[in-house]
């Protein structure tokens, strides 16, 4: 079981942070294009999901999966979006994504007066704490399964 990579976007589509741990295939486009593609896709899926839902919506779009990986999604009322790609064995991880937002992003970036909001996060402390947190997750293993 493993975590492949993680994206953090703000409400304007700016990619605040990207990390990868186990990614065997690249998208074949520049990183900037990849972020735009990811953000655009999420935007469309959210809107599609709420329109086409046959029942009243509760959380909205939460995850999608293919035969190889699963993409997990979490959005805050302020429009911060946490997107994590894991392999298929991983169940719902809303609490993990929420922790990344509240204990890492809010604590170390929002509350850091030297971090301007709305830009890629420069804080080394944020990057290293996030990395430690992901590596400490029960579904992360050092070797991709």
């Amino acid at each position: 079981m493993t975590v492949h990579n993680l994206y953090l976007f703000d409400r304007n589509g700016v990619c605040l942070h990207y990390s990868e741990w186990h990614r065997k295939k690249q998208a074949g486009i520049s990183q900037e294009e990849e972020f735009k593609l990811m953000y655009g896709m999420l935007f469309s899926i959210r809107s599609f999901v709420s329109k086409m839902s046959p029942l009243d919506m509760k959380d909205g779009f939460v995850a999608f999966q293919t035969s190889r990986y699963k993409l997990h999604y979490y959005e805050t009322p302020t429009g911060i979006k946490v997107v994590m790609n894991t392999d298929l064995g991983v169940g719902p991880i809303r609490d993990v994504l929420h922790h990344i937002y509240s204990a890492l992003y809010v604590e170390l970036v929002v509350k850091n007066p030297l971090c301007p909001l709305g830009q890629t996060v420069q804080s080394e402390l944020f990057r290293s704490r996030l990395d430690s947190y992901i590596r400490s997750l029960p579904f992360f293993s050092a070797r991709a399964g």
Partner: protein, 138 residues
């Protein structure tokens, strides 16, 4: 408003230190509980490390050293205003800005307790910092 750039920055830091001084003066008045607590200068410094730090930052200073000739070095290995900023050398240059108010705070509290001082701060690696208190005797 102070201008940006080195002269403006110096003014800003003085303003912050001044604000800290005023707050420290007031805390120096309302925090001490016992009359006889301050028999000597070292007791006042201990008060800063325990009671003042406890009231303002919910923790105590990690170490207090002195040369017994009026110079004290107070060390905080995990200063709350720096803890969220970094762990190491990133942001080292900007860190002192966030210490100016606290230097004033120490100086103000000392002033209410009858001690005139000069307080400076330094950061070698976040989030640890040192405050140097030099007693001014006339």
């Amino acid at each position: 408003m102070p201008q940006p750039g080195p002269p403006g920055q110096k003014t800003s830091l003085l303003v912050l230190e001044g604000m800290g001084f005023r707050v420290g003066q007031a805390l120096g008045e309302r925090l001490p509980r016992e009359m006889l607590a301050f028999r000597e200068e070292l007791d006042v410094l201990k008060f800063l490390c325990k009671d003042l730090w406890g009231a303002v930052f919910q923790k105590q200073m990690d170490s207090l050293r002195t040369n017994h000739q009026g110079t004290y070095v107070l060390q905080d290995s995990s200063f709350p205003l720096l803890v969220r900023m970094g762990s190491g050398l990133q942001y080292l240059e900007e860190a002192p800005k966030f210490l100016a108010f606290t230097c004033g705070l120490l100086r103000g509290t000392l002033s209410t307790l009858g001690i005139k001082s000069l307080v400076t701060a330094s950061v070698a690696a976040l989030p640890a910092c040192k405050f140097q208190v030099v007693i001014q005797r006339s």
